[in-house]
Amino acid sequence: MAKAPTARRYAQALFALADEKNASEAWLDELREVKMALDDPTVALYLTTPRVPAEEKLAVVTRLCEGRDPMIRNLLGLLASRQGTPLLGAVVAEYESLLNVRLGRVQAEVTTAAPISAEQQQRLRDSLGASLQKTVVLDPREDPEIIGGLVVRVGDQIIDGSVRSKLVALKQRLANESLA
């Protein structure tokens, strides 16, 4: 797990730069786009294989980042020259969390069995926001396996109101509890 601290350092450095230039939000979008391009397995392999000389990788990365902010290009160049492109995903995630902290925003992963309506989403956003004292960005997901109810995950914390976990708890209690 040496990956996470390294990525965090890169993200902190980049975020500080973005701050100076007042471009933190715009850079996040750019970073996401670049990451999408790099997620392609062929590109990823090309950028990590030691058989390709560093200069060549640098040239490819520069071309890839054409039209983007020069700092994004520099970050990619730096990562590519250090065999660090696989870190990019983690760097983007860290960058995003730094930005979220700055803006008082939290990302909430909401899992439901069936899709939820825009109005339900709004209510959820309001009530979560009220209890967390933050602006909530919802990330809705669907998973029929939870049977019903919903599971909200904010960072390392989870609010599990799913029917599945309640059934599991009931099963455990019925098995454990004495009949005395």
């Binding site: 797990m1 996470a4 601290p5 995950r153 914390q157 989870i158 009949l179």
Partner: protein
Amino acid sequence: MTTRGQDIASVLKKQIEEFGGETTLTEVGTVVAVGDGIAQIHGLSKVGFGELLSFPSGVSGLALNLEEDAVGAAIMGSDVGVKEGDLVKASGLVAQVPVGDALLGRVVGPLGAPLDGKGPVRTEGQRNIEVVAPNVAMRQAVNTPVQTGIKSIDGMIPVGRGQRELIIGDRFTGKTAIAIDTIINQKGQDLLCIYVAIGQKQSKVAGIQATLEEHGAMEHTVIVAANASDPAPMQYLAPYAGCAIGEEFMAGGRDALIIYDDLTKHAWAYRQMSLLLKRPPGREAYPGDVFYLHSRLLERAARLDDEHGGGSLTALPIIETQAGDVSGYIPTNVISITDGQIYLESDLFNAGIRPAVNAGLSVSRVGSAAQTRAVKKVAGRMRLELAQYAALASFAQFGASDLDAVTRAQLERGQRLTELLKQPQYKPNGLAQMVSAMYAVVNGYMDDVPVDRVREFEERLVGYLETSKAEAMKAIDETKDYDEATETALKEGITAFKATF
């Protein structure tokens, strides 16, 4: 059957009514790596040290390494069902064990799960497995003896209630036997016993349970077992769990005795966990805090003052040495923590001196404060005489014929004392039996009994006294002392018996 059926139905009804309940905010993390009973977990950023975690497979874990991005957790159970990507939940609780009288007579695991097939353990309370030991202001001096029923121990190395007395020796020198005899001797007395088996063969634990049951000693005993096949974290927790069970008795103003069999294996289990958690190894590859591992455990043995109920918890830790080497890392640690040690030797054991207690190297730092007055009166000279005998015995090898009468008398007395201190297993002596036998030898009544008949003499003498001088014997048992009248009765009895021997 119908009542039981209705019972079940009503419980189910209640549980179904309560189904759902509250949803609470839980701290979670994701398993990133698992192996050798250790899981690396990403997340769990607010988890506490020693907090219980639950894995989706149903096993629980213990958060032991808190790092910037990851938590290292020991899995308390099988790691087979734990996979990468599993969601781990923090419980917000530290490890606890059920405590109370319902545990007496039972064999349980380190987390209180019954292992003896006698159904669920219905206890009232729970106690934290790890607690801070009672402080100075809550304690009082050790002043009441633990009667082990073993003459050589009660006579020379008395153990007091609240004391920590180490039993140390090579394998197969009778360490466990001393512990078991001590438990058996508490039958019908007020001392509750806890036997903690750490990393032992299941067959041995089953054997001990059977022995205790056979001697009617399970009624006042709890066995806490983490066997050799249990994962290291369970073996690590077992002594603390046993201690918590004992502390419940102590807090209730009662006296309890706990045996840790053995702390060598406990240190091994902790070493394994520490190395797998990637903590740096130190001497003999033990982690740096292996001293604290045992000191915090043994500090929990205490005698509380009257304000706190006056209960006590006596600890008898056991350490196994290799080839009599007491200078190993773990033996020296535990020797320095405890209030004395009972040192058992293979040479003595093989020479037929059983229990194989080495009287010279064994000490009890609490001393005669923890001896009953009756034993103190007869045993006071015993230790000195034995020590003198040991010094003279080496001379005697060159032929006893040239020795002067005083030396010869000392040798004769020493031989008889040594013979008297031999004691078969599972036959702990009552106080009166012990006192009368010691009285006879110390006062020279056995000097003219042939050495090889000393044990026969003792056995028959005690039998005789119990029938013909029952009142005197009863007085010793009750007052734990003997007055002049009792002493006269003893003398009369011994003289009368000698005439028939």
